[in-house]
Amino acid sequence: MASIKFAVDGRSVTVSADPNMPLLYALRNDLKMSNPHFGCGLAQCGACTVHLDGEPVRSCVMPLSAVAGKKVTTLQGLGTPEKPHPLQAAYVEEQVPQCGYCINGWIMTAAAFLKKKPKATDAEIRDALAGLKCRCATHAAIMRAIKRAQTQMA
């Protein structure tokens, strides 16, 4: 057991747990923040994606010890219905999600990417989103939403 301090969505937290436990379990179980999902536990799908100091990481394989002193942002920290991130607003506008379970991966990954490269081409966007899964196969709508968000972010 270890006591690990970090910040989540602007709030300081301390979690006492196995330092090898993936961050995802700390978020979901200890901190009751259920928005990142367990999809594979293998960093192969993206459903658990959060930002760690602004970079997208797969929280299902990120040991808790590695987040000590860092800033974690979840989808709920990225934006809210009152103050949405442009990608969230575009996702609603384009009616993207079907089951919606994959959403953290796409929005968190795309948000970090567009911040660096707001004018990315379609091909660059597709490359940046490699590895993410959407089993309902809403990829066409995902692309529309990202392009809509790009116009908002430009």
Partner: protein, 758 residues
């Protein structure tokens, strides 16, 4: 953590108003029991009561009780549109309650794309009947005949004097109709009611036919709505079921000391069902990995070599055959044929591979059982859990909460029964979730199959004899729902005998060949019980595999007859089907060709192909435009043009999004998906060993032509368009290369091998 499920305000208000039920982990409350104590309260939840279908709240809002589920394909809003039009209320005032066995009748859950086709019928009738009763009541109150009244957004007024008015809220808000309707005595998809009111004609619709936005989107995007994975109860244990990676194993010794290092974790076992439970989820995960079990392996290797799967199917005995379509004298036609065309097509086992492994939470108490499930058929979870635990079904409440995707009988049905069994065995509420391999290696599979086409052409190229015979594993080795625990992994693990059903299917089309035979043959399962390759319904059960064969075969006949594939189809199909094929071809700018392209320079070969099919009243045609990368063997499905006729359209945008999902999921299954196995086990256990389409391979464009037929009752849109994708891509590949790919998936290795042979 408080376990209340977030209910929409209106639903909470309704429930409060009706005094019927409180959704709380403090203990399940059952509608029947609660209401028995409340004279004049809500009548029992039976299809014969109008109150089981529709309610008017004190503020005039309307609640529709829908015994099916919206899995993200716009059903919720579509049902609201239908109810709003029948009742003459603003659609924004209509809430749809779904998937709770205490609040909705068993309309079969999500099943067979029938959400609108059969699911909306009783809702439409109930709303019309409610309007009729409310108008009667208003007539008495206002002292005017019904004919002199009009309804605008729930306000009933005199046609001649708008000041003379009352409202639904005043007339009945918060109270019940206590009105009987005639039920057709059917459970599940065919459940329907008859009422005295006459539903409106399509010309009177105001919101049906409009593209209104869904209501579940924002909750998913901002993550303010709960998923089944988020349900948490006081004193809840987390569980992981431990399964042998090898198939056909029984449990010998379980070394409980092997998890001693995980404080608080313990083993729960009944016969061959083994799980670990712990207060913290991570402890359950760790313990499940550490637990040492001596598995007892079957002597015989359970599976044939994967490379021999299709020979196994070809050579296996037939346990049942059905000649579903038999017309004329097929054998006779072959005797006079000028030309005979024959071909075989092969389709692998495929996994639901839902976005996350299934999860369920169960709370088994002496006074009742509550199960929160992502299963698309919660009413059948109720029955299955009742049978598993040997309690009356009315003591079990199953509540659907959105899960990680659902495209048929996936692992959600198993998780629900796992959770119930574990809660019973531990005496605590239990949350169980699988690991990735449980969702890919251990979910019920779409069946593998071989399809044989044979056709006789006369000298003019006319098809004079046609047969298409599918042979494969049953589509219902595990039934399509979990209402019988013998169809669940938990049930089979505790020794219940398996209960296989035998079923397959034939192409759905209107080709008017004079002599025609469409048949199927089912072979025995590879393993009788607890098989990771047990087969069941996966989106559009057997549709993609059958039409991968049949619609390629039609293309092969067009080539043999020296005709363009579109023109060839149009010669034989019905008029309504022809309209759909023409619409797709026209929108795609189809250029007729009687043979594949011959100009093939460069590394990227373009091709286009068409496929068409029916599905329970819906007709769909698609033109696929692909690019074949000669060096890498990659196929890119660049553009798809879908024409879709499902009768009356309720919500065009909803159908459009649903079709897009079908196209891309279909493309994934066509190009990438194949469950791998060796002699002992399924070796597809994660996204590396069971790859699906990623965004790099998603189409650049999907065009959808919706053909609205207001005069035709609506049929389904949830699945039809997936079944035409595989053949359209394969036909486009032939157009690009002149080579046929008759085995799915069309992987780069197979593409390169086929091109090398060409």
């Amino acid at each position: 953590m408080n376990a209340r499920i977030d209910l929409s305000l209106s639903r909470r208000e309704f429930l409060k108003a009706s005094g019927a039920i409180i959704v709380s982990a403090a203990g399940p409350a059952f509608v029947g029991e609660t209401l028995a104590q409340t004279a004049g309260g809500k009548p029992p939840l039976v299809p014969t009561e109008l109150d089981s279908w529709v309610a008017i709240l004190p503020d005039g809002r309307v609640t529709a009780f829908f015994g099916k589920m919206d899995m993200g394909q716009s059903l919720d809003i579509a049902i609201a549109q239908i109810v709003a039009d029948e009742l003459d209320v603003d659609v924004a005032k209509v809430d749809v309650v779904m998937g709770d066995t205490a609040l909705t009748c068993n309309q079969g859950g999500a099943s067979g794309s029938t959400g609108i086709q059969t699911g909306a019928r009783p809702l439409r009738s109930a709303a019309a009947e409610a309007r009729r009763l409310l108008l009667q009541s208003a007539s008495q109150k206002l002292g005017l005949p019904v004919e002199q009244l009009r309804v605008d957004d729930g306000v009933v007024s005199a046609v001649s004097d708008p000041a003379k008015k009352t409202s639904y809220a005043e007339l009945i808000g918060g109270r019940h109709f206590h009105h009987q309707v005639e039920w057709n005595k059917q459970i599940g998809n065919p459940m329907d009611i008859k009422v005295q009111a006459k539903p409106k004609s399509p010309s009177e619709y105001r919101v049906v036919g409009k593209s209104l936005p869904r209501r579940d989107v924002a909750g998913k995007v901002y993550r303010t709505d709960k998923y089944v994975t988020d349900i948490s109860l006081p004193k809840m244990l987390h569980a992981r079921v431990v399964r042998c990676s090898r198939a056909a194993c029984t449990v010998g010794a379980v070394d409980e000391r092997s998890i001693r290092a995980v404080k608080g974790a313990r083993v729960v076992r009944e016969k061959d069902f083994v799980a670990v439970v712990a207060d913290h989820e991570w402890d359950a995960v760790r313990a499940s990995r550490m637990l040492k079990i001596s598995w007892v392996e079957s002597k015989k290797e359970p599976f044939p070599p994967m490379a021999g799967l299709y020979d196994h199917i070809r050579n296996a005995p037939v346990v049942k055959r059905e000649d579903s379509v038999k017309k004329g004298d097929v054998d006779g036609a072959f005797k006079t044929a000028a030309k005979v065309v024959e071909a075989e097509y092969e389709w692998p086992f495929q996994s639901h591979a839902s976005m996350g492994p299934a999860c369920a939470v169960a709370d088994v108490r002496a006074d009742g059982v509550t199960v929160w499930t992502g299963s698309q058929k919660p009413h059948f979870v109720q029955t299955g859990v009742a049978r598993l635990l040997d309690v009356p079904p009315e003591k079990v409440r199953a509540i659907w909460v959105a899960g990680p995707g659902s495209y048929g009988r996936n692992d959600a049905g198993d998780a629900a029964l796992d959770a119930a069994l574990l809660s019973k065995l531990t005496g605590r509420p239990v949350r169980v979730q699988g690991m990735r391999s449980d969702g890919i290696a251990w979910d019920p599979k779409g069946p593998a199959s071989v399809h044989r086409g044979r056709a006789a052409l006369d000298a003019s190229g006319k098809v004079i004899g046609y047969e298409f015979i599918s042979k494969g594993f049953s589509r219902r080795n595990i039934d399509t729902n979990e209402s019988d625990p013998r169809d669940s992994l938990a049930g089979m693990s505790i020794g219940l005998p398996p209960k296989p059903s035998i079923d397959f299917g034939v192409p759905a089309e209107s080709y008017g060949f004079d002599n025609k035979l469409l048949a199927w043959e089912v072979i025995p399962p590879l393993l009788e019980a607890s098989s990771p390759l047990r087969s069941s319904h996966l989106r559009d059960p057997v549709g993609p595999q059958i039409h991968f064969g049949s619609e390629q075969f039609i293309d092969e006949l067009a080539v043999a007859a020296g005709e363009d594939p579109v023109a060839f189809r149009l010669k034989y199909v019905s008029a309504r089907d022809a309209d759909v094929i023409k619409a797709a071809a026209q929108k795609a700018g189809w250029q007729p060709r009687t043979a594949p392209r011959t100009a093939r320079s460069g590394d990227v070969l373009p091709g286009r192909g068409i496929a068409y099919a029916q599905r329970n009243g819906t007709i769909v045609a698609v033109v696929a435009e692909i690019e074949v990368e000669r060096k890498t063997g990659r196929i890119w499905g660049r553009k798809f043009t879908v024409a879709h006729d499902c009768g009356l359209i309720i919500n065009p945008e909803g159908i459009r999004y649903t079709i897009e999902g079908n196209v891309v999921q279909g493309l994934s299954r066509t190009l990438f998906e194949e469950v791998r196995f060796d002699r002992e086990k399924v070796t597809s256990v994660d996204w590396l060993s069971y790859p699906i389409l990623e965004i790099r391979d998603a189409p650049e464009a999907i065009e959808v032509v919706l053909i609205n037929r207001p005069e035709v009752a609506p049929s389904g849109a949830g699945e039809p368009s997936i079944r035409v994708i595989p053949a359209a891509v394969a036909n486009a590949f032939f157009d690009a290369t002149g080579v046929r790919l008759r085995r799915a998936p069309l992987t780069p290795e197979r593409v390169k091998a086929a091109l090398a042979r060409a």
